[in-house]
């Protein structure tokens, strides 16, 4: 195939303990480490492996957001993507807007595969891939743990509630990836230097001519309810007694 498009979302790093800010308008992001959404990193790794075994010619990474997203796109280029597209906006975007923006880029680039993370670890929505597939009127294979390409189809094993489901989709298609698909490579210093010379195009979200999506308003961010501090027991008889006391045995 000619092209694979991979979405990279800039999110608060996996290891950061996220806290709600004092006025409940969001979470603390000042001085917080930002990274590529881990699922998107797996998506990119898969695209690169497809290219490296000769099944694709070009891997394009795309991000939607402020100019800060260039950092994540540069990391994607350093991992091995050929070029990057930033759909620039300083406004927060919802899933449908992101899907509509991705569709515009898909229509311009005509990739045979779009690979995204199954969810972003900030909003935990798990929506954008399915929405893009719907708008594009193409198949979706979500939560992929194995992807096999043959000719014009992809056979995908999906992680589902009861086990593993295998489906076959015609290309072009949207795939969203789960944790166990692969282990993303580490970026090496020379690759970071090389990535600086790779093309990173920018297009303003406002120039894509999208219809505004009916927004869901974020009213209030709150910390979760805390569980009350429990008791420590010394041994198994103590544990059994404590469970009996709660009527759990």
């Amino acid at each position: 195939m000619e092209k694979i498009l991979v979405g990279l979302k800039r999110v608060v790093d996996y290891n950061v303990r996220v806290r709600v800010n004092s006025d409940g308008s969001g979470v603390e992001t000042a001085g917080v480490k930002m990274s590529i959404n881990p699922f998107d990193e797996i998506a990119l790794e898969e695209a690169l492996r497809i290219k490296e075994r000769g099944d694709a010619k070009e891997v394009i990474v795309i991000s939607i957001g402020s100019s800060d997203c260039q950092q994540q796109l540069r990391t994607g280029l350093a991992m091995g993507a050929d070029r990057a597209i930033l759909v620039a906006t300083d406004d927060a975007t919802d899933s449908l807007t992101r899907a509509r923006a991705l569709l515009e880029i898909v229509n311009r680039e005509s990739p045979e595969l779009v690979i995204l993370g199954k969810q972003a670890i900030d909003d935990d929505n798990n929506q954008t891939g399915q929405m893009l597939a719907a708008l594009w009127d193409r198949p979706q294979a979500t939560s992929a743990s194995t992807i096999e390409l043959s000719g014009n189809t992809a056979r995908v094993i999906r992680e589902v509630d009861v086990g593993l489901e295998t489906i076959e989709v015609d290309l072009p298609a949207v795939l969203t990836v789960d944790l166990r698909l692969n282990e993303p490579r580490y970026v090496k210093l020379p690759d970071i230097m090389k990535a600086k010379k790779k093309p990173l195009d920018e297009v303003a979200l406002g120039d894509l001519g999208l219809t505004a999506a009916p927004a869901i308003t974020e009213v209030l961010f709150e910390p979760p309810a805390e569980r009350e501090k429990g008791v420590m027991v010394d041994d198994v008889p103590g544990l059994v007694a404590a469970l009996n006391e709660k009527g759990l045995l």
Binding site: A134, P214, V231
Partner: protein, 313 residues
């Protein structure tokens, strides 16, 4: 008035029990009229189970050979075809619901609310974000249909003492053939289902091998409990993916959760925060699991777990 359609989740034979929890969520919207749509090859048995759920006023049965295996791209246009007149359309936060509902939302040109944990009003909901590190209140536009998935761990199942009418409906939607079911590898187990079990015994990386998970199974069987695991244990290959609990696995709310050799990463804790009682057994007294545990025991799981299993009648 709210008129709510719930999309049934099923395995072709029986209704997913969690649908009763989605009904409970819908019923928490004042004056809601609740209907359930069953898409299947053969709907009779599944629709009958749906019709028995309290508060349900009608079940719509859509029989089609194309609905033999629930494929999001095939079901979504059928949902859109019957969507007229509903103020809300709900699915479960299950594999199928998560696959289907955003596709429906996009076809209807609206955004989706994922993982409703509380209904504040017909258009205001609470949902967890950042692996449960924050709870976000969201408000959906009132002039459009609300598409949402329900975090079923937040709800108690509706009763089943009803007999709502079942209507078989034919849909003339153009269904795609670009997505084809091949096979399902489902683990077979005599143990209770992880998502609906009242007790769960769960193991982490510290179990250190597939064989050592036998300790977990033995304790679970003694308690009549389901078995669960952390992402680390699944990644290490000790146990299959369908047992994973947490941000990207299953979200559960058993009465009793016993965490064995689990350190308590935030991504795991978000999957168990609605458990009634959390028991933690871990050799590291500083492990974060003890911050959320109701009962904690510090020590070597390899001696504690067999002793506990033996101690139970």
């Amino acid at each position: 008035m709210s008129k709510i359609l719930i999309i049934a989740d099923h395995d072709g034979v029986a209704l997913n029990g969690a649908i009763a929890k989605a009904v409970a969520c819908a019923a928490s919207i004042d004056g809601a009229q609740i209907e359930i749509a069953v898409f299947a090859e053969s709907t009779a048995a599944i629709a009958a189970e749906a019709a028995a759920l309290d508060s349900v006023t009608r079940v719509i049965a859509i029989e089609n050979i194309a609905n033999k295996h629930l494929i999001a791209a095939v079901v979504a246009p059928q949902v859109v075809a019957i969507s007229d007149g509903y103020s809300h359309i709900f699915g479960l936060s299950s594999s199928f619901g998560k696959d289907l509902m955003p596709r429906v939302a996009a076809l209807l040109g609206v955004n989706q609310i994922s993982d409703i944990m509380t209904v504040e009003s017909p258009h205001v909901f609470k949902r967890p974000i950042y692996a449960g590190n924050a709870v976000l209140t969201v408000e959906a536009p009132t002039d459009q249909v609300v598409i949402a998935t329900v975090r079923t761990a937040s709800y108690r199942a509706a009763g089943a003492n009803n007999s709502a009418p079942i209507e078989v409906v034919d849909i003339a939607a153009d269904l795609p053939s670009h997505t084809r079911f091949v096979e399902l590898q489902a683990g077979s187990s005599d143990r209770p289902d992880l998502q609906s079990a009242s007790s769960v015994v769960s193991g982490g990386r510290a179990l250190a091998s597939t064989e050592n998970f036998d300790l977990i199974y033995a304790l679970a069987d003694k308690l009549g409990a389901a078995v669960g695991a952390t992402r680390a244990a699944v990644d290490a290959g000790y146990i299959a993916n369908e047992f994973q609990i947490g941000q990207t696995g299953k979200i559960i709310a058993p009465d009793l959760y016993i965490a064995i050799g689990i350190s308590g990463a935030i991504q795991h804790l978000t999957g168990i925060k609605d458990a009634g009682t959390i028991v933690a057994i871990n050799k590291d007294a500083e492990a974060p699991i003890f911050e959320v545990a109701d009962i904690g025991l510090v020590g070597d799981l390899f001696s504690i777990v067999p002793e506990l299993t033996d101690a139970l009648a």
